[in-house]
Symmetry: D2
Subunit: 436 residues, 4 copies
């Protein structure tokens, strides 16, 4: 079995210890020899902290894995087996703008959904595609595991504009497995979930525990579903759930409970405590901890950061690709007809069979209109967002934002877009619109 080199783009991220912990835990089945952590100059301090910490972790484990920290992205990618992208273009400062501009305009301000996710996508896609150029040249057989949000849109950009073998990953699906296994006191392997959707907009259309459907337990409130720690939880209306006929994911709250969440976001904004502010604080505390030279494991505090089981999902995926295990993962891939009410060439988040050479979606039954309609309109918004990012066409950007269900009108879309483009100017290289 050949040895594995992993390149982590955005290696200075606070998530890195989680990833390295996971790789160490799978070291028996997964012959990782080198982990390259790469970052941009602005992230060098964090990168060095991460390199030091993860080296201590490797040392403690007694495994023979080499950690390399570098600012030379091409060196990191060269001959890698797996490239992992966990970057944040513009860092938390820009995320804060995404949230603040949105909320000030009276719409949801969130990292991946709505106007915030839209702006993050515009900043991020050019960088990801430039990474893909390097991979095409330096590691054409590598798998790219993209964790960078909005993961579905970013992965779609790669699928449409690159030849890199890419798969997008989110920790949402694994958290459902973990949650239901705990609820029913069974192993994760006893739980089977039918998903339909796109990243951060997936519905559970059925839930089986040891071969028996338990969907109605959730729809009738007999059991509760998983709710991500970083999304406000006001509970679900059971009449609504039953007529929906499926379990919505946490991010659906931005669509179904918009008023309530927006109200809370406006309060947070008044107190300068939006999610970006909170994460910034957590990050600072984490990096304090990480610098402690006696720390040689992932600190407990990382769990507050969100991203639970992120490492587990990633490492299992790498393992099953590497072992050609033909197991089922819920990941972001080219639709190719799996969801027949969406175009073939878009990115969907569905159950897939993972093999070394290909990741293949399972065919999904036609959803009812209440799922289909929302799924189609958000996906069309995502297609336009990818097109806007790749072409730098401000008109297409306006159409994307206008179409988004969380933006109430074209007028509002135009105002938000103007404010966002102004702040993001350093990260874009766009022409202005021909007609104002």
């Amino acid at each position: 079995m050949e040895s594995i080199k992993i390149a982590v783009i955005g290696g200075g991220s606070s998530y890195t210890p989680e990833l390295v912990e996971g790789l160490l835990a799978e070291a028996e089945t997964l012959p990782v020899k080198e982990i390259w952590l790469v970052d941009i100059p602005e992230g060098d301090r964090k990168l060095q902290i991460m390199a030091a910490l993860t080296k201590r972790m490797v040392e403690k484990s007694g495994k023979d894995i080499r950690i390399v920290a570098t600012l030379d992205r091409r060196a990191a990618i060269q001959d890698a087996s797996y490239v992992i992208t966990q970057i944040r273009v513009g860092q938390l400062a820009m995320r804060r703008h995404d949230e603040y501009i949105s909320i000030k305009h009276g719409v949801i301000g969130q990292e991946t959904t709505g106007a915030g996710g839209f702006m993050k996508a515009l900043r991020t896609i050019p960088v990801i595609l430039s990474i893909c150029k390097d991979i095409e040249e330096l590691a054409p057989d590598a798998w790219l595991l993209n964790f960078t949000n909005p993961a579905g849109i970013v992965t779609e950009a790669v699928l449409k504009h690159s030849t890199v073998k890419v798969v997008g990953l989110c920790n949402n699906p694994i958290n459902y497995y973990k949650r239901f296994a705990k609820t029913y006191d069974v192993t994760v392997d006893d739980v089977r979930i039918n998903f339909i959707g796109i990243n951060h907009l997936i519905w559970i259309t059925d839930l089986y525990v040891k071969g028996q459907s338990h969907l109605n337990d959730i729809l009738t409130g007999k059991s509760s579903t998983y709710e991500a720690a970083n999304i406000p939880d006001f509970g679900w209306d059971l009449g609504f759930l039953q007529s929906l006929g499926a379990i919505p994911c946490g991010y659906h709250k931005y669509y179904y409970q918009t008023d309530t969440i927006l109200e809370q976001q406006q309060l947070e904004l008044e107190r300068n405590e939006t999610r970006a502010d909170q994460v910034k604080k957590v990050e600072q505390e984490l990096f304090e901890l990480y610098q402690n030279p006696s720390l040689n494991e992932k600190p407990k505090a990382l769990e507050q950061r969100g991203g639970a089981y992120y490492s587990e999902a990633a490492v299992q995926l790498i393992r099953d690709i590497h072992l050609n295990a033909q197991r089922v993962h819920t990941v972001n891939v080219r639709n190719n007809g799996a969801i027949s009410c969406l175009p073939n060439d878009v990115c969907v988040e569905v159950n897939c069979v993972v093999e070394n050479h290909q990741i293949t979606p399972l065919q999904i039954k036609e959803p009812p209109p209440q799922i289909r309609g929302l799924l189609q309109v958000v996906k069309a918004y995502e297609e336009l967002t990818v097109e806007a990012a790749v072409t730098g066409n401000e008109g297409i950007a306006l159409q994307a934002l206008t179409l988004h269900p969380l933006i109430p009108s074209a007028e509002k879309a135009k105002e938000i877009l103007a404010d966002m483009l102004a702040v993001n100017e350093p990260y874009l290289n766009w022409k202005t619109m021909s007609i104002q």
Copy 2:
């Protein structure tokens, strides 16, 4: 050529003189022998006024057409060649509720779009389907021309739940032809329009005058498009139009200029002058006029009522069905793949070839995402609305309203639905939801 009997359900409507005027004008080519005006007991007074007026109109024309006014719907339908439905279940009083409840909840209040159109559909579909039962029994070869709004949703209900040959008609398309003919100083026959969409949500993807495309004239503001008199007109942002790549219809303003229109509606509500209030006033004035025994033609004042060219569209359609003329009309029919991004069994408003025995849509090119996404989500809402109306399932009604792009959240949908169902209780026969 066989003689024609026309049954007008809702014959007491103020539109009737327009229809009769049109039929008289086509009397040379269209051998109409009987026009039966039928209404419900509550509408008897208006019905008698209409009967008297239209008899005077016929007399003036010197044509041999018999006008019959009746409350016996089955007698009117018996052996009819064409049945026309122009009913308003619950009359203007209920329309007023549709508008007021919507606006009070902070959403667009409109007869056909959003929560108002939704509630009108729920009230109207059971009545239309009961009319269809009569047609199936008493005039199975008749064509049903449905003008009752929301025309697309109501027609879809008939297509899905009846064997009646139905076509839905709106005066929106004909107004575009008239407008562009005037703009370019050509005949209507020199104008060709490519439409895509559903009733009250159609886009013009190309416009040809004498074989030359003039779409860009509109998108760049060189010429202006048709704007219905009954929809506020704040102008279009040209940058928006160009990136849209198509001409939106008047009803698109509710989606693209939501804030501006809602603001105006809230002012109208404060003054008790919403559209329902205005129409009520116009109607009263019209019926005053209609009772004048010396009036023997359609009064000029009817034009303020909206519905311009309604008669012309209807009469031309009847004529071309009758003559088997194989001409193109823009009407509401079963999609059957014409718009491939929508289900086959839904109702769409598209260019069709009209024959005596069938009305066939022309194939339409794939729309870009900015059109596709909005079209798909609104159509999915319409499918759910038909299902809710036919099953009386309040849960499906909640899903329909939640999905509508003009309703900001499931919470808001639930509140609006509760208020609307309470007021509409006399017109529905619904079970309550199992879970509150």
Copy 3:
């Protein structure tokens, strides 16, 4: 109204007088000013005969139309409004090979169907695409009317590999209209036919006369259908017709009555009297007639040649394009979803609305499996044939021929292909297969 220049590629064809006769008959509505007849040097003699005859025809008519005969294709195409292709690459000598090689191998030998049509397509497509290059450059707004057989395959090649506005035309549909009008003693305008299919493989799924379906008259033998003069007629089994549920066209006999027709073809081959032989004789007689300097009209004898109403179909199509008449014609166009069980980008022969700027297919209902299966396999064969012709890939040619329902096996396909390629070598520029 601008004046019209028509370029006829293959102007030396014996069909030319029919076309010119038609154009003269429509001269009131169609302002044709120039007809350019163009041919290759080998056809110069025929071309000169045609030029002389058609000039006499014009003179007799008294119309102001200029006839130009030329070997300079580019001059003929320059600024043409309509280009008509009626060429026969390799002339009748090659057609004879197509038939003889096929029949000798025990399969149907026919100009457009099976191995014969396949070989004709391979020879013809490169020439048509080179004509299209000229049109793209010299007359980019011209409509190309393709009559060259196999018209469906040739038109598909243009649709896929050129930007020319093309429509493929066959005299099969018009003959059905004429026949049924005669049968029911009505005008052609009283007849409405629902077609589904591709060129020379169309089914009539319904037939309306004055709005009443008469399909069952044919299926039960009460009336007979049109049978092309150039296809043997052994009658239809009525049980077969009824279970088919549609009227097959004449070319369907090659598929449904294969044995009987093949037997007859083998007899004809023994007597050196296949269709190519017969046509050759008719052509010689026709050109004898044509040279008669006193002849100034289309001779009666032309009708034996086949191609009845060819001129009428062509001239009506040109007229309706020119007049932007929005009338229905049955022609060969890009499918674009009209027949949903076939790919979007293939050529189909269906009812279309003809406008000056576009020709749009009407949406067609899903056919039953007995139609669908044959249609799909023959269309897939045609797609491969286009690909083989364009790429010169002998392997793809082998797959095309193997897939054809009239070729019993891959072994037989390989033998036929070898013989055909040998004889056609002067017309092709192919590499040999890498593996024998």
Copy 4:
């Protein structure tokens, strides 16, 4: 883990020892408690022989499994977990007719392909659907594993006309895995195959060994593919394979090498040695062996019978359903969009993820036309065959047979059908055609 009852319909089949051997081998993971062998009165002798032999096999194994032999089908099905159908309606005598009638008419005579498979389907489907009625009533949660040929058509009949959870199984796919594992000296788990197709008409579009594609090894003759022992093997033309771009299965020879195989079949018929004759002889020898009271294991001679690895495929499928193992099997299920060029409601043989509660196909990439065309036409034939069997409509039967690529014309189809219906009259309950 609950204990398992298996009902084997057609338990007197000579395959039964293979199945029982497999179940004994998996007894550790699969808690089988009862195996009910059920047969019809005509098969009682064989059934008793099988019961005695399999009881000896169980006894030798020391496992606690009860063998029950019965003619009471309902008792066998009652509360079964798995029902296995391996019946042969009309036994080998009717199979002989299928082959002889076909070959005498000059077409391929084969148990599952062409006219033979067609007639077998007509006889078998009514019996299978009557078994399904029992399952629906007596064991509604049971999985039906159908091995009865033509397995794809029979399974499609169940999918369309029953609510039973059905999966169709063939030993063709497992043989490819075994073969390629042997060729490349790896385990079966190291081999991954991309299949597209329907039962007995599957193509291998890619073949991976340890993550590397080895498709070209086969297409260039570097390695050979699996060829079923019961299908003549004349080798593949490599030029043909390469232009096909996929590995055909053994049954493709009937389509691609028709002449050669038909010639051989005609020789066999002259010698009274068609496949039915051969199998009859093997069967007699097997039952001689089986009666030996000292035999307590599957005899080696069974392997000549064909059906290699049949038991292994079946037992692994039962195991993985039971264990909810989420592993990939290549089985016959409802298409549901997996092969997008086929209807949703037909049966396809594709890679599926097997779970306890559902078996889900993996999405398959669009095939090239050379695969698509043959697949579509044969599937359309199968749809008609199911319809003919269920409705007893002789006209649909005629259309089915006419459409089959191995039947040269409607005339021939009619003759074959008449002969076949005459002989099969005792097994059918059909009305005659209304028109002869």
